[in-house]
C-alpha cells in the first residue's frame, strides 16, 4: 500500500512539475534533455522503491503507474477542461509567415525553433510557412504555404 501511494504521489508530482516547466521542456530531445530524463528516472526510482526491491513491489508500482495513467486518460477524454489544464492546447505561433511574438515569448519558443521545424519540412524561411503550431507535445508543426 505504501509503495502504491508513493507511486501515485510521484506520478502527480511529475505531472505538475512538467506542466509548470512548460510544453517545450524536454521536447527537443537534445542529448542534455536525455541526460536530465535519465537522472530524474534514477532519482525517482529510489524514492519509489524505498528499499523494497522485490518483484512484487516492482509489479505493484508498474500497475499503479499504468493504472493512474489510464485513469487520467479516461478523465481527460470525458472532461475537456481537465485535458486542457493537464496537457494544454495548441498555440498558433506563426500566421501567414508572420510570427505572433507575444505567444512565442509566453510559450518560450524563439524564431530559431520555428525555423528549425520549418527546415525539417524542407522550407527555407518563415515566408514559406503558412502556420506554425506549438502542439501539446511541445513539437512545432509546420504547414507550408501552397
Amino acid at each position: 500500500m505504501d509503495s502504491m501511494l508513493r507511486g501515485l504521489a510521484m506520478y502527480l508530482f511529475l505531472l505538475m512539475v512538467f506542466r509548470v516547466a512548460g510544453k517545450r521542456s524536454l521536447a527537443r530531445a537534445s542529448s542534455f534533455d536525455l541526460i536530465l530524463l535519465l537522472m530524474i528516472g534514477g532519482l525517482v526510482k529510489d524514492a519509489l522503491v524505498n528499499g523494497d526491491e522485490s518483484l512484487t513491489n516492482a509489479m505493484l508500482l508498474v500497475l499503479t503507474l499504468v493504472g493512474a495513467d489510464a485513469l487520467l486518460s479516461r478523465l481527460k477524454r470525458r472532461h475537456r477542461g481537465l485535458a486542457a489544464w493537464l496537457e494544454g492546447l495548441p498555440v498558433v505561433l506563426v500566421r501567414e509567415g508572420k510570427p505572433v511574438e507575444p505567444l512565442m515569448e509566453a510559450s518560450r519558443v524563439d524564431r530559431q525553433d520555428v525555423l528549425a521545424a520549418a527546415r525539417e519540412q524542407g522550407l527555407q524561411g518563415l515566408e514559406q510557412v503558412r502556420y506554425a503550431v506549438l502542439e501539446n507535445t511541445g513539437k512545432i508543426s509546420i504547414i507550408p504555404r501552397s
Binding site: N50, G51, P90, V133, S146
Partner: protein
Amino acid sequence: MTELEVDEDLAHERRAWRAQKLGWGVITLLLTLGAAGLLGEGPANRRTAAAENLSVRALYERTLRHNAQSELLATVRSDAIAGERALLTVGQEWLSSVKVHSVVPEPEAVRAVPGGMQYEFRAAGGDFDATFHFEPSGFGSVPLRLEAAGHPPLLLRQFILP
C-alpha cells in the same frame, strides 16, 4: 484556402501561463527553503536545546526526512551523573517514530521505564555525550523527550517530511 482547424483557446492559454508562473513561484520557494536547510539537512536545520536546569542538552535536526539517516547528540551534564553511571531516558513516542540503528558509546544496559526507554552508560567523568544514529520511519511532528534520571525533562519536537 481553408482556415487552420485547431483547438486554440488563447483565454485558456493565458490562464495556464499565469498558473505556470505561480508554479514557478512555488518551485522557487521550495528551492529557497531547501537551500536554507528548512526541508531537512544543512546547518540552518540544526538546533540545540537544553532542559530547564541544563541537566540534558541536545543537538538535533529540526526537520527530518523519512528513511534518511540522522543523528541526535544528547549531553548529560556532569552534575546529573550519579557515580559513573549516566542514565538517559528517551520518550516512547519518539522511539516509535524512528529506527535507532546504533547508540555511541554503546549503553551498558537499556531498560523499559514508564514513558520510554532508559539507557545506562558508563561515564568517565565530566559531561557525557551519547550519539543516536537513527532513521525516521514515521511522518509529521514527533515529540522528543530526553531526561536525566531525577531531573526535569527536555521536551522538543522534530518534524518528519515524507
